[in-house]
């Protein structure tokens, strides 16, 4: 049918825009990314952005996809292993989504940028993605260190874990200059995950000892 052909072609340019936008946004951030560059990469006229979406900001919001991160949490919870193992698995899978350049980690990198340079969409991202996975890790931590821990100390433990992970992405411009040979291949990510996992579990045990002597 001709209608189908037309629709699929329409969807094609729309999807091409989205795909290009994801790449350009994750590479340059929201501000530094230009509509002209996105359209150039998508091989699409500049007016298409405001035709299919209404603005650059709406295009940016449309590129966000919280599903991979949220399904990661659900997948981890399905196993019947202990909390320590679940935390190690989470750190591993989270780092994979955050650092692996070959995977479709663009989604995660795109949101990671928001932490440092907030845009008008940050509120939505915090509410729908960051808050849930912070809560997820908080539950794991509480299960590991026991229930006597205070809310403030629990929060600091969660921050310690995320801080270690995020530094590899936020600090990348610096890290690249400090250690030019460092590449985030699978082997390196595994090593990082192992380190952060052991480092954090030991830290959590220490916190647990402090609270329940």
């Amino acid at each position: 049918m001709i209608t189908e052909t037309k629709n699929s072609l329409t969807e094609q340019t729309r999807e091409r825009l989205l795909a290009a936008a994801r790449v350009v946004f994750s590479e340059n951030g929201f501000q530094n990314a230009t509509v002209r560059e996105i359209c150039r990469r998508a091989d699409v006229n500049i007016a298409a952005v405001n035709y299919y979406f209404n603005s650059k900001e709406a295009l940016f919001a449309a590129t966000l996809n919280f599903e991979p991160l949220l399904t990661l949490c659900k997948k981890i919870n399905q196993g019947s292993i202990c909390a320590q193992e679940r935390l190690l698995n989470f750190i591993h899978d989270f780092l994979m989504q955050l650092l692996d350049e070959k995977e479709f980690s663009v989604q995660c990198q795109l949101m990671a940028r928001e932490l440092a340079e907030p845009t008008p969409v940050l509120g939505k991202i915090v509410q729908e993605a960051i808050a849930p996975i912070h809560q997820f890790v908080a539950n794991l931590v509480r299960e590991i260190v026991g229930k006597t821990i205070s809310e403030a100390e629990l929060r600091r433990c969660v921050f310690s874990i995320f801080g270690q992970c995020m530094y590899y992405r936020h600090g990348q411009p610096v890290i690249q200059r400090l250690h030019p040979q460092l590449r985030y291949d699978h082997k390196e990510i595994e090593a990082i995950a192992k380190h952060i996992g052991e480092f954090s579990l030991a830290g959590l045990k220490q916190v647990a000892q402090n609270k329940c002597p």
Copy 2:
């Protein structure tokens, strides 16, 4: 003398520019900060930026001051206490410079922004400030965990410590939305420093155990 009067007046507008630039840059980052806003706050004509400095970028470079960070490292090393205590002291003082809004931490905040959104001046910052204090912490870590640790594992330990500290600044837009009541007053910074210190020392001990069973 009239010459002195003239010079001091000149210096006054130059210094006013620098002071305003420090504030605006640390609040908005290099890109988002505008020359017009800086001049407005300094109560100075727009042309003054290119008159006294040659460009916005040179003005930015002139606002940088690595001394507080470097003297921090020297001060810590002067004491004859053990490496663990020195690390705890460093984390405390570093967080004070990084988070305290009342102190003159603008210098540190200004450089912290560079980690996430690099500017043409980043190379200088890494070379003159970040690399030295990374090396400083690396030396402390090596002293704590023993010499058998590999270079890669040493690097990850340093990243774990800095990652935990920097998250409170880089993640502030997110943290503010997650915990709107959280304020970085002296009491809170002390608590954060205590947490990161204990958490990290436990992590380092674990790393040392792994390497020297």
